[in-house]
């Protein structure tokens, strides 16, 4: 357990966001993960992103499955409801919650065991439905809570702590999501907050499911020589070419936006994503180009990171369903129940 106890009284006045809250208002209970765990860095990035977006803390709904990654929903935004559900089942539970109340920011945190093995089927279908939520996979290639078994994202040849090498082909959530028609696909590294925070902010303003695969090393079981999910390996192999800046147009003066010809993508809920550097021939709004790029980089042994693909034109689950703008949970019963006269009328076709 890391020592992250913070002084009760901050040393200096803390900056406030637009709704008058400090970053402390987005923090959660103290992490019980191992010191140095990549997941805690992801948590910190989420706290930062929510703070910067000035989201009312109770309008966030935190969803997770079971595993080390799934514990992390307890470590941010204590003022939000959280649901640490069952192993692999985060996606359907989030889908149901979102169906009932579309007016909240759903932040789903899952892991490679949760999403790529036991819950793979559910993740696939949440992507197909384009459920409006952020879907973070804290991906470390290993089962941590059960002490070091390979997960479905372990690369062939990647060695376990005890030395044996994985022989089974990995599931790559980025390629999987792209092939399923996902509307927002990113990959990042827990050690790279500078990249992760803008991705999270863009994800929060995306309509539909924003999949973020975050390589998040397990310091206990998968951070040694031979592992392809260690801090060192990722730092050496990361291909960081598709970096986004997230510009919150709802709060910034649009005239000040840099007009340097960089690719700009407008997010559904108001923000803009500005891609800083892009390799030649790469268009993050072109699914085929993204798939080709990721595939080629993978073949070279590189880990491409950044906001790899985004398409704001794909309708989300509620648009497809033409759901009431008012969240279903707020519709009064009187509007939902047809009443006795209609029941009489309906039964006329059964006589």
């Amino acid at each position: 357990m890391p020592s992250i106890n913070k002084p009760l009284i901050p040393l200096a006045a803390m900056p406030k966001n637009e709704i008058g809250l400090t970053i402390r208002d987005y923090e959660g209970s103290m992490s019980t993960l191992c010191a140095g765990c990549g997941h805690d860095s992801v948590t910190a990035a989420i706290v930062r992103a929510l703070f910067e977006l000035s989201v009312p803390p109770h309008k966030v709904v935190k969803m997770s499955g079971i595993g080390c990654s799934s514990k992390t929903t307890a470590y941010f935004d204590s003022a939000a409801h959280g649901f640490n559900s069952a192993h692999g089942r985060m996606a359907p539970i989030a889908t149901g919650a979102n169906a009932a109340n579309r007016d909240a920011l759903y932040v789903g945190i899952s892991g490679d065991g949760d999403s790529l093995s036991i819950g793979a089927g559910h993740m696939v279908h949440a992507i197909r439905r384009n459920v409006h939520m952020i879907y973070v996979i804290e991906n470390n290639g290993v089962y941590g809570l059960t002490k070091g078994q390979f997960s479905a994202s372990a690369d062939i040849g990647s060695a376990a702590k005890r030395g044996e090498a994985n022989t089974v082909a990995p599931v790559d959530p980025v390629m999987l999501a792209l092939s399923l028609g996902a509307s927002f696909v990113a990959r990042s590294f827990s050690g790279d907050k500078e990249q992760l925070v803008p991705i999270l902010k863009a994800a929060a303003q995306h309509r539909g499911l924003a999949l973020i695969d975050v390589i998040s090393p397990c310091v206990q079981f998968n951070n040694h020589y031979g592992s392809t999910k260690s801090y060192r390996y990722v730092r050496e192999h990361e291909l960081r070419e598709i970096d986004p800046d997230f510009i919150d147009t709802a709060r910034e003066i649009v005239a000040d936006l840099p007009r340097d010809g960089a690719l700009m993508v407008a997010m559904h809920d108001g923000g803009l994503v500005r891609f800083r550097t892009l390799p030649a021939d790469y268009d993050p709004t072109d699914r085929e180009a993204a798939m080709r790029y990721v595939n080629q980089a993978n073949a070279r042994g590189e880990i491409p990171t950044g906001l790899l693909f985004v398409d704001e034109s794909i309708p989300d689950v509620h648009e497809l369903n033409h759901t009431s703008e008012t969240p279903l949970v707020e519709l009064p019963f009187e509007e939902l129940c047809p009443g006795s006269a209609e029941l009489e009328e309906f039964q006329q076709s059964f006589v």
């Binding site: 409801h81 149901g96 919650a97």
Partner: protein
């Protein structure tokens, strides 16, 4: 199985026809369109005011296999399978021998006489009525598909003549069914006429049984349980449904969709002036039953009324999350339209064999609230009640219907609705409530029924809590401490126990002089009541109790205590209701006998009568 007939209800004097007391059986090939013809006959009899029931005995197949439909006409309202047929409509060459062999001596066979029946099938003791259906339809219709379809309507015409269905009623029904399609209406009318006229000219004018219009269906509707269940969910205010296709539950979700499209759609004008339709519902066809229940749990947790509908194999998958909902105290309504297990079993056959699984679904110590409807009217009422119970007690509630109730048409009293009804949302706190209380403990502060308050995510600013299926204490915090864990699970046991007082009480009928009680549940009711009437008339009075909910209330135990011995009638191999009574009502098993039917076809009164005679005889010997 030996089939002994029950004395005809209204045998009449010699030479007089039996009125409104006979059974028809239709032997068809599935996928040929016979269902609409059989349904037409059923509805016509109902509309003539004569109590009637229909049972579809169909294969798990789309086209080409044998399928049967039984219609029982009973002026006294008996609905269970007759197992004695007066008229067999033999339309399937594959099953001629079986179908003709089933007829009681003196019975009638209607067959397609376009081709002669093989001589080996002829019996001296039954009457053969030939109607050249293929020839009649071949001459009258041109398309090959229409020729096949219309043969069915043509036999419906012949049967109508034979049993005395009013042609005016038939014309009316066709008019209603095909109001949007004049061509189809006309060809149906013509086919009906072909069969009717042929029978009138060539077949005997009077059979020993016939219909007589009456008022026996006044105030009743003819409806299937799955439609009724969907209607109940609509009226309860359910806004989210999640499901995975499965026989025999599929039509619950499909009907819910139809109802929502009719009653839950609004036109809205957008900012740019365009008018769009908005749905006040979300129906999710899930990737599997596990996900379906997950979606229901998510939606209920977020404050909506949500349900899923499934059958046994789906319940097996849902076990995992039933435990989650139980332990995290989230309402979840699950409709289980039971079929024959185990495993895939016989998907189109009926059983009541999920009782024990549902009562204790999931690993760990769990117990669930069950509702046990007997007919579509109770499906409607219990479906509404299921949501109230689930929200009041913050736990899963399963309604155990079955294939017989769910997919067959039953004549039941019209449904009524109290416009004063408002949902029981249970203990849900708002910001103002929390302000007043000064604190919020998710799993503490229980009321007299051991229910604790909850808050709704995204709606209240205060009262955020962390829901977890892992060990938690009364504050909802993670714990591995024995006492803190035990405090929560002990309250859960008491909470579910407390729900018994809110469940539908058992239906009890007492008879003078009875010392033995008969206990049953669900769709057995028709067969059991008919059997009790027959046994009473032969001098054996028996008391009756139909259990309608679990956990059992005090009335269930009192009924058993009031009898020397009880016989439990149910449709499964292992006497699951009997076991549950022994386990949960503290009954000595030696006082409970069993009548079990588990072959997959709905239980008949004959089975109950024979079983009761055996059971009573055994008691006498002791």
């Amino acid at each position: 199985m030996s089939v002994q007939s029950i004395a005809a209800e209204d045998s009449g004097s010699e030479g007089e026809p039996r009125i409104n007391d006979f059974s028809l059986k239709f032997a068809n090939v599935n996928g040929t369109g016979s269902a609409s013809a059989n349904n037409l006959i059923l509805r016509a009899i109902f509309r003539m005011g004569v109590p009637v029931s229909g049972k579809n005995l169909f294969p798990s197949n789309i086209q080409g296999l044998p399928t049967w439909y039984e219609i029982r006409v009973s002026g006294r309202g008996h609905t269970s399978r007759a197992q004695r047929y007066d008229l067999m409509v033999a339309m399937n060459g594959q099953t001629y021998a079986e179908d003709i062999g089933q007829l009681a001596p003196g019975g009638y066979v209607l067959y397609d006489s376009t081709w002669p029946l093989p001589a080996t099938l002829l019996r001296d003791d039954v009457n053969f009525l030939g109607v050249p259906l293929a020839k009649l339809c071949g001459d009258a219709f041109s398309g090959p598909r229409e020729r096949i379809l219309m043969k069915n309507i043509a036999y419906a015409g012949a049967v109508s003549y034979l049993i005395g269905i009013d042609p005016q009623v038939l014309a009316e029904l066709l008019e209603e069914s095909y109001s949007g399609n004049q061509a189809l209406r006309d060809s149906n009318q013509m086919a009906l006429r072909l069969g009717y006229d042929y029978a009138e000219e060539n077949l005997p004018a009077a059979l020993p049984f016939r219909l007589e219009a009456g008022t026996g269906t006044a105030g009743k509707i003819l409806i299937d349980g799955n439609t009724a269940t969907a209607l109940g969910c609509l009226y309860a205010g359910a806004t989210v449904a999640a499901w995975y296709p499965i026989t025999p539950a599929t039509s619950v979700a499909e009907n819910f969709r139809k109802l929502c499209e009719r009653y839950r759609r609004r036109k809205v004008t957008l900012a740019d002036g365009t008018v769009e339709t908005r749905n006040d519902f979300v129906i999710l066809q899930a990737e599997d039953e596990l996900a379906a229940l997950g979606m229901v749990i998510g939606a209920s947790w977020a404050g909506a009324r949500a349900f899923t509908s499934t059958s046994g194999p789906g319940i097996s998958l849902m076990n995992e999350l039933l435990g989650l909902a139980y332990y995290t105290e989230i309402p979840a309504v699950v409709i289980n339209v039971q079929r024959t297990g185990p495993s895939t079993g016989m998907p189109t056959r009926v059983q009541q064999a999920d009782l024990l699984e549902c009562a204790y679904a999931s690993h760990g110590d769990t117990k669930h609230i069950l509702l046990l409807p007997a007919d579509p009217r109770e499906c409607f009422e219990f479906a509404v009640q299921a949501f109230d119970l689930a929200e009041r007690f913050q736990t899963p509630v399963m309604m155990l219907s079955d294939l017989d109730i769910g997919m067959n048409d039953w004549a039941v009293d019209r449904f009524s609705w109290d416009d004063g009804y408002r949902p029981d949302r249970g203990r849900v706190l708002t910001d103002a409530d929390i302000q007043k209380l000064g604190h919020f403990y998710r799993y503490g502060d229980e009321d007299s029924e051991f229910v604790t308050p909850r808050t709704i995510p995204g709606l209240s600013e205060q009262g955020a809590y962390f829901t977890r299926g892992s060990g938690h204490d009364r504050y909802g915090l993670y714990t591995e401490e024995a006492d803190a864990y035990a405090q929560v699970v002990e309250r859960l046991a008491k909470k579910v126990e407390a729900s018994a007082a809110h469940l539908p009480e058992p239906v009890i009928r007492m008879q003078d002089g009875a010392t033995v009680g008969v206990i049953t549940m669900g769709s057995c009711e028709g067969a059991v009541l008919e059997a009790l009437e027959a046994l009473f008339s032969e001098g054996t009075p028996l008391d009756y109790m139909r259990v309608r909910g679990f956990p059992f209330d005090a009335g269930v135990r009192a009924f058993i205590d009031g009898h020397e011995r009880c016989i439990v009638v149910e449709q499964n191999r292992d006497a699951q209701l009997r076991s549950l009574l022994i386990l949960e009502a503290g009954v000595d098993g030696r006082r409970l006998g069993s009548i079990l039917s588990y072959g997959g076809l709905p239980i008949s009164a004959v089975q109950v009568i024979e079983g009761a005679r055996r059971a009573i005889h055994q008691t006498g010997e002791q």
